[in-house]
């Protein structure tokens, strides 16, 4: 059972466009949603995160929009750059857990110059 789903599986945008990566979840007990960026052959690195009490979080070109009622969130990457080409994972943490993160399947983003 996939508790965190991401779409699309892969996304190609032109440099300068806004890339939109989607994520949905099923478990109402999830309260923290980080997005991780992973380059080939490297470990994932935290990009931006949001708590379920917020509906928006911005950090430079990266913005998370969160809809608790619909159990959906999205990552918007404005002014996409070729260096943003990577795999992006949406993850979710359950309240009171061991800090265990449940990861989605990832979205592979390619930014064409």
């Amino acid at each position: 059972q996939q508790q965190v789903r991401q779409s699309p599986q892969s996304l190609t945008v032109w440099e300068g466009e806004t890339a939109i990566l989607n994520c949905s979840y099923e478990n109402s007990a999830f309260d923290y949603f980080p997005w991780y960026q992973q380059f080939p052959g490297e470990g994932p690195a935290l990009l931006i995160s949001i708590l379920s009490v917020s509906n928006k979080k911005e950090d430079g070109r990266f913005t998370i929009f969160f809809n608790k009622r619909e159990k959906k969130l999205s990552l918007h990457i404005a002014d996409s750059q070729p260096g943003d080409s990577a795999t992006y994972f949406c993850a979710a943490r359950e309240t009171g857990g061991n800090n265990k993160l449940t990861f989605g399947q990832g979205t592979v983003l390619s930014v064409i110059p």
Binding site: P34, G43, N99
Partner: protein, 114 residues
């Protein structure tokens, strides 16, 4: 500054052979430690976590074991590798407590079982 070091960087092993992967965290006292597994092109799955020396909890059964012999060291091992063990193994750490949410990953170990 905190650093996380995984070894080896890559391994090629035969089915049925033993395996030991290591992870060391420097610059943080008593971190939570985690082992994750990632299939090629796949998602990340938590295998083990540890909140203190000598205490390890298994999250999923994959014929692997983990140990925490020191506060800053986490070991993943098995006596008999399976083909299904191939993949990318990632060690991670976090701090414990309210608001301490971030997982910090190491560079990973690429394992190929032939």
């Amino acid at each position: 500054a905190q650093t996380i070091h995984q070894w080896p960087v890559a391994e090629i092993k035969a089915v049925g052979s033993p395996l030991s992967l290591g992870c060391t965290i420097k610059g943080k006292s008593s971190p939570n430690l985690y082992w994750y597994w990632q299939a090629t092109g796949g998602t990340l799955q938590q295998l083990f976590y540890s909140i203190t020396v000598g205490q390890v909890e298994s999250v999923v059964q994959l014929n692997l074991s983990a140990s925490r012999p020191k506060d800053d060291q986490f070991i993943l091992s098995t006596e008999k590798l399976l083909l299904s063990h191939s993949g990318f193994y990632l060690c991670a750490w976090s701090l414990w407590g309210a608001g301490q949410n971030t997982l910090y990953f190491g560079a990973g170990t690429r394992l190929s079982v032939l």
